[in-house]
């Protein structure tokens, strides 16, 4: 039902974090519009391998928009432009025009060093989570699940905050390389739930301290993060984190 398109793809090649890196480009011919962006890259790689060349390396896994592995900066936007929040794996080639030049870059931020080509190292996010992104509860026999009543509104809002997939698009889009949207989404989720309240102050302080230590930038409320978030997290979370953090510090 869709017609095929031909275009030029410019993709970033970089052999390790210290390498300078450069673009390579290639003509792609007759790609069906129903092909997803990553499938198009599969086709590119198949062609490269057939020619005996090394494939273009990028992170990907579930291809359903939920695992958060996707980390491609397509034509100036993290994950590429889609109508509603979506990751690169949910971007389809029909969104492009015949004769387009498509530029693919890695997340560029000091917090995410390049491993190879467009594959970046996002372990910083794990470290921030390890600093406090949890409720300290032992496996075993906590109280009955219904013993904690949570108003539907709070549960729904916590769920929205919890939808973050940790892809790092927020950092990639931010001119300050700030990870506030990521951190605030986790802090918000747990701050909104009664289970998370006892540790709320400790969590906010610990996660922000780790985020700062890892060299992420200061949030200047440009809103670029929420504009590109594939899961539509909002800077309301950042306001909440600020509140939690300031409260915690003033209470010290």
């Amino acid at each position: 039902m869709d017609k095929n398109i031909s275009f030029t793809i410019k993709y970033w090649k970089q052999n390790g974090p210290k390498d300078q890196g450069h673009f390579e480009s290639r003509q792609m011919k007759d790609i069906p519009g129903d092909t997803s962006f990553l499938e198009m890259l599969d086709i590119l790689n198949e062609e490269l391998v057939e020619e005996g060349k090394e494939p273009f390396v990028f992170d990907h896994d579930c291809r359903e928009g939920i695992c958060g592995m996707c980390s491609l900066y397509v034509n100036g936007t993290p994950h590429g432009k889609t109508e509603r929040g979506a990751t690169t794996c949910q971007l389809y080639m029909r969104k492009f025009k015949d004769g387009d030049t498509i530029t693919v870059e890695p997340w560029r931020s000091a917090g995410f060093p390049v491993i190879k080509d467009c594959m970046v190292d996002r372990t910083a996010f794990d470290k921030i989570m390890q600093a406090g992104g949890y409720v300290s509860v032992r496996t075993g026999a906590p109280q009955d699940a219904n013993a904690i009543l949570i108003p539907k509104q709070d549960a729904d809002e916590a769920m929205d905050c919890a939808s973050c997939i940790g892809c790092g698009a927020c950092v990639a889009a931010c001119k300050n390389g700030s990870a506030m949207l990521f951190v605030s989404s986790k802090v918000s989720q747990l701050a909104l739930l009664p289970q998370g309240r006892p540790e709320a102050a400790k969590r906010a302080k610990a996660m922000v301290a780790k985020m700062d230590e890892l060299g992420f930038g200061n949030c200047t409320n440009t809103r670029a993060c929420e504009a590109v978030c594939p899961k539509c997290e909002t800077i309301t979370n950042i306001a909440r984190l600020n509140r939690e953090f300031i409260k915690a510090k003033l209470a010290d």
């Binding site: 930038g217 200061n218 200047t220 309301t236």
Partner: protein, 237 residues
């Protein structure tokens, strides 16, 4: 100290100093408008805020706020550039949601500071400083000798300054930059201290835009008022 060594703390400093400066501008703007109505009244205010000890203290406080705001601005920007890394995107596209001002706060801030220096030269240097240095009488004498308005006559200084078109243009540029800087700065400051949410975010933005626009219009009215009918306004009073 968390106001220095945490990212949110540093932003809180920006936010609080920023809000304080907005309050100062509000006060300053109100005072200026008086000049449009009555030169005498304006000069009375000038007298009250002239070379007195409390004015000096307030000026020092104001200067401190400004300096902290500026130092933090550069500090944050340096840190943010470092966090951004050395590599830049080859292709960028700005999402619609992102305001131009929000991404150019430092540049706007620098324009504001330059404008402020000009303003200080125009008014503070000519009006307040001589009185502080030489006393009221000597300063007045010196002014007379130089053919400029007396230091105590603020109203005359306004007329004198805006009779020069170059200053008018420079002040308009300055005020434009200030408007951009504050439309973002206002809600951003509120957001940073955490007084925002799904509903209040849009409210603060609207309130901020209206407030800042009125504020800048107040200043602009004085500039334009004196630029285009400096003589008629003097005739009025």
């Amino acid at each position: 100290m968390w106001l220095c060594n945490s990212s949110i703390g540093r932003k809180v400093v920006m936010s609080v100093t920023g809000i304080a400066l907005i309050l100062f501008l509000t006060f300053h703007g109100c005072m200026n408008v008086v000049a449009l109505i009555s030169g005498e009244a304006y000069n009375m205010i000038c007298e009250f805020l002239g070379a007195n000890w409390y004015a000096v203290v307030a000026t020092a406080g104001l200067a401190a706020l400004t300096v902290i705001h500026i130092i933090y601005a550069f500090w944050l920007t340096l840190q943010n550039r470092k966090a951004r890394g050395n590599n830049r995107y080859a292709v960028t596209s700005k999402p619609e949601k992102v305001e131009w001002a929000s991404q150019n706060m430092l540049v706007l801030g620098i324009i504001v500071v330059l404008g402020m220096l000009l303003h200080l030269f125009n008014f503070w240097y000519n009006m307040m400083l001589p009185e502080l240095l030489y006393g009221k009488f000597d300063a007045m004498m010196a002014a007379q000798a130089n053919g400029v308005p007396a230091p105590g006559d603020g109203y005359a200084w306004i007329r004198f300054t805006f009779s020069c078109p170059v200053y008018v243009v420079l002040y308009i540029v300055w005020l434009a930059a200030l408007w951009f800087h504050l439309t973002h700065g206002f809600w951003s400051a509120i957001q940073t201290i955490g007084w925002s949410g799904h509903i209040w975010f849009n409210r603060w933005k609207t309130i901020g835009n209206i407030y800042v626009t009125i504020l800048v219009l107040m200043f602009l009215a004085v500039v334009l008022g004196f630029a285009f009918c400096g003589s008629c306004s003097s005739a009025c009073c």
